[in-house]
């Protein structure tokens, strides 16, 4: 019991202080019939560190780790190279094992970091303010829809068909219970959804939700949508699942988005089989009191020194209870730290270099893969992810590629299982971790599979 410091002598002495004869006396309020008499039967007993480590090593070896194979998966989670210093720093006990900074005098480390993070996110997204993080991109997206409803006092959200289908699923789940209306359409590889969106905006619309770049990797100007939305008193919510893209392309804020949310996993966090990730949430300053989640603000201490505190907590559940802007409590602090450290290491120059390298590799890959007979490139524009149309069902191809030790993208069939028109689509992400050899290996494997 290596994590339990009490010795049996301690326990006896403490029971004596308490005035209890035995540990059982401390559990007398548990109804007799519900008391467990000993360890729950059928479960293993305690294990040594070595035994536990062995078990997990065996489990880990059953998975095909991205680093060891040509790797082209994206669709909302991207493999980037994270500098070693990021993981080193987030493991500092003072960051790792601290709680939410409720006592700011002894939590300035976390608070200042959050203030820096908020500023980085706001600038990246082209917004005035950002919060201290959400669970992930998909929940941030739903929270933004909810916030738009509070701001506009309307309940119809117009959702682009280019929004990640899982984000749509989350919104559908929530809307079912809140009674919000979602205006949805089927994804079309042949054309973007902009025309429909412009049409759908009306005086009932609380918001338009557009992913940028969209689920197929396409990049489109959001200005017209923003203008139309604003004309009708609606908000434009932009969703960014690949923040690295904003090192190369305009920010949604520049194009008029009112709320920009995103998935921050690309920077600092890593793939982790889907979580924990970090939701990014930024908006115009005038909406700040309708934001969900924690906010860190600058202030001064009793001696006039600059310091930071959690602020505007009258929006939050621990103060407002059922009237809160969200029920969120724990956010994704440590992932926000990882994001912020990685972003600090990159800086403007590094982010732009990284984005340029991603785009260039993606262009190389797209050109190479489109040469394969029967394969066509769907995208006119893209950043580091694009869609191929294959001559056959792409889901089968993905499995066959995996058998050849190539992790060759995400099939649209996996993302849109019901939709026949999309079954031959393959979503391919190409980041800086992809080498030219990886592209060639992928191309050859794909050609073989299609042959």
């Amino acid at each position: 019991m290596r994590y339990l410091p009490l010795t049996n002598n301690d326990r006896q002495a403490m029971l004596a202080t308490i005035g209890a004869a035995s540990i059982d006396d401390l559990f007398i309020d548990v109804p007799e019939e519900a008391r467990l008499k000993g360890p729950i039967p059928g479960l293993p007993m305690h294990a040594s560190e070595m035994a536990v480590e062995r078990h997990f090593s065996a489990m880990a070896r059953k998975n095909m780790a991205a680093a060891h194979h040509p790797f082209f998966l994206g669709a909302g989670a991207y493999k980037h190279h994270v500098p070693a210093s990021v993981d080193h720093l987030i493991q500092r006990g003072e960051f790792l094992t601290a709680y939410t900074p409720y006592q700011p005098e002894i939590a300035q480390g976390t608070l200042q970091m959050l203030f820096e993070f908020q500023t980085q996110v706001a600038r990246l997204f082209g917004c005035d303010v950002a919060n201290a993080s959400m669970y992930d991109g998909s929940t941030a997206c739903w929270e933004a829809i909810g916030m738009a409803g509070r701001v506009t006092k309307r309940s119809k959200a117009v959702i682009s068909s280019g929004l990640h289908p899982h984000y749509v699923s989350v919104a559908k789940t929530m809307a079912r219970f809140t009674g919000d209306t979602l205006d949805l359409a089927a994804l079309d590889m042949a054309q973007s959804d902009t025309a429909r969106l412009l049409n759908a905006i009306d005086g009932e619309t609380s918001c338009v939700v557009v992913q940028y770049p969209d689920i197929l990797g396409r990049i489109e100007d959001l200005s017209a949508i923003a203008q139309k939305a604003h004309e009708h008193g609606a908000l434009l919510i932009a969703v960014v699942t690949e923040p690295v893209a904003l090192g190369a392309i305009k920010s949604p804020g520049e194009m008029g988005a009112d709320i920009v949310v995103g998935e921050g996993q690309s920077l600092g966090v890593g793939l982790q089989f889907g979580g924990p990730y970090v939701g990014l949430f930024a908006c115009k300053e005038k909406f700040v009191r309708q934001m969900p989640g924690r906010l860190c603000g600058q202030t001064v201490d009793a001696e006039g020194k600059r310091g930071f505190v959690l602020t505007l907590s009258t929006r939050e559940q621990h103060i407002r209870r059922e009237k809160a802007t969200s029920n969120i409590c724990t956010n994704s602090g440590l992932c926000a730290l990882a994001f912020s450290i990685h972003m600090s290491l990159l800086g403007e120059r590094g982010l732009r270099d990284l984005a340029a390298l991603n785009h260039a590799r993606a262009v190389q890959a797209a050109e190479r893969l489109a040469q394969i007979p029967g394969v066509t490139l769907v995208n006119d524009s893209f950043f580091n992810e694009f869609t191929l149309k294959l001559p056959v069902n792409a889901r089968d191809v993905v499995h066959k590629l995996a058998a050849k030790k190539v992790l060759g993208g995400v099939s649209l069939g996996r993302l849109y299982p019901g939709e026949a028109a999309l079954q031959n689509g393959l979503l391919v992400a190409v980041t800086e971790v992809v080498s030219e050899e990886d592209i060639e290996t992928f191309a050859e494997a794909l050609q073989e599979v299609l042959a």
Binding site: I23, P39, P44, H46, L96, S344, L345
Partner: protein, 492 residues
Amino acid sequence: LEEALIFEIGDSHTTGVDFDPAPKVQSRLGGLERNREIGLPGLSEPETVRHYTRLSRQNYAIDLGLFPLGSCTMKHNPRLNEKVARMKGFIDVHPLQPQETVQGALQVINELAHWLIDLTGMHGVAMSPKAGAHGELCGILAIKAALDARGEDRPVILVPESAHGTNPATAAFAGFSVENIPATPEGRVDVAALKARLGPDVAGVMITNPNTCGLFERDLKVISDAVHAAGGYVYCDGANFNAIVGRVRPGDLGVDAMHINLHKTFSTPHGGGGPGSGPVVLSEALAPYGPIPFVAKLPDGSFKLVEEEDATAMQPETFGRMTAFHGQMGMFTRALSYIMSHGADGLRQVAEDAVLNANYVLRSLEGTLEAPFGASGPCMHEALFTDNGLAEGFSTLDVAKGLIDEGYHPMTVYFPLVVHGAMLVEPTETESKAALDQFIGALRSVANRAKQGDPSLKSAPHHAPRRRLDETLAARKPMLVWKEADLSVAAE
């Protein structure tokens, strides 16, 4: 101790990351090339390491000392968990990889799911909720979905007044109206009042057990039976499962849904505010409505992630997806590592030591501070005190800030709301007796100063990186992002 902001240290030309030069290609960015500076400062690696190392030293943490935040369960975070979570086979796999390439990861999720079911005596578990409050939402949505399936409209959720704020916030989010249930003078739910309020408009109750006064709700089974009899469901806030794991199964008390904070009971690190992970165990009645995706073990021994397309066959009544992927894998590995390390015997010991430590604190200090429910029997994982007896003008906040000067993080203050000036102390099982004795001595000393009216306490802390911070100013004139000094002057 002062550390500048990255915006004051770095500039847009510096970077701490080198890249191979990008190959020359024709840009395909759709004419949306960025042409405005973002305004992101870069730091070299030495500056980065130093900045964050220095910042970290302005934090208090469980690694530095006892962190007695009641209701927050700040226990030791084993380093084995960190090692295990970082194995390449877990940290470097994509959520949408073909399932045959992630069988080990799926097996870990499945193993943890089974532990959670067995430890709680429940029927099923939803693994995807991202944190405790997200788990509450999961449980409440399952209740709503179950009611919908029954074709019943029950708009009310009952919540005891001592509940965590997330409880009413969650219920409200799901469209319920929230009604409070009072507490008895001994600090437990008023069963008579609750029973009286039950009826066809009541969807269920959200009850915390052990509750936020640190007491075991000894009538939970009676309550559950009454709620069930009235056609409702029982949601249990499992934030305090730490205190009872291995000693009681919530399933045996009639609970229908309960979230488990992996970052509390099962030792995954809090990280200065997350990430958490809030799996929800479900009764037989609610399990069919639980969210997708989830991991199923197939007859051939392989593991399958059940998503939208298989839901019709395998979970037809699911209320849907709560988050993009399958939950907090990085927390699952850590929690399972902790659970396996302790085993069934060790987890029982965890609850015993947590409760022992809390009672030791309670009994050692009840002569110094008022313990409002000291006569209500043993406490569970935490000991509750009030500000009754402090000198005129001295408050719980002063005691808290005074503790900082003694080298401790303060206890939870002003929560729960059912007593005046609450001080809620949760030592957890990973503190030694010596550490408790030291803490008890420190709190006693500060409390006595507050009782005697020591004026220096009013301006505490004196020995922290900052003196008391002006929270009113922060809220009145919110400064949420950094601005260049001259720009911000121009803006005024």
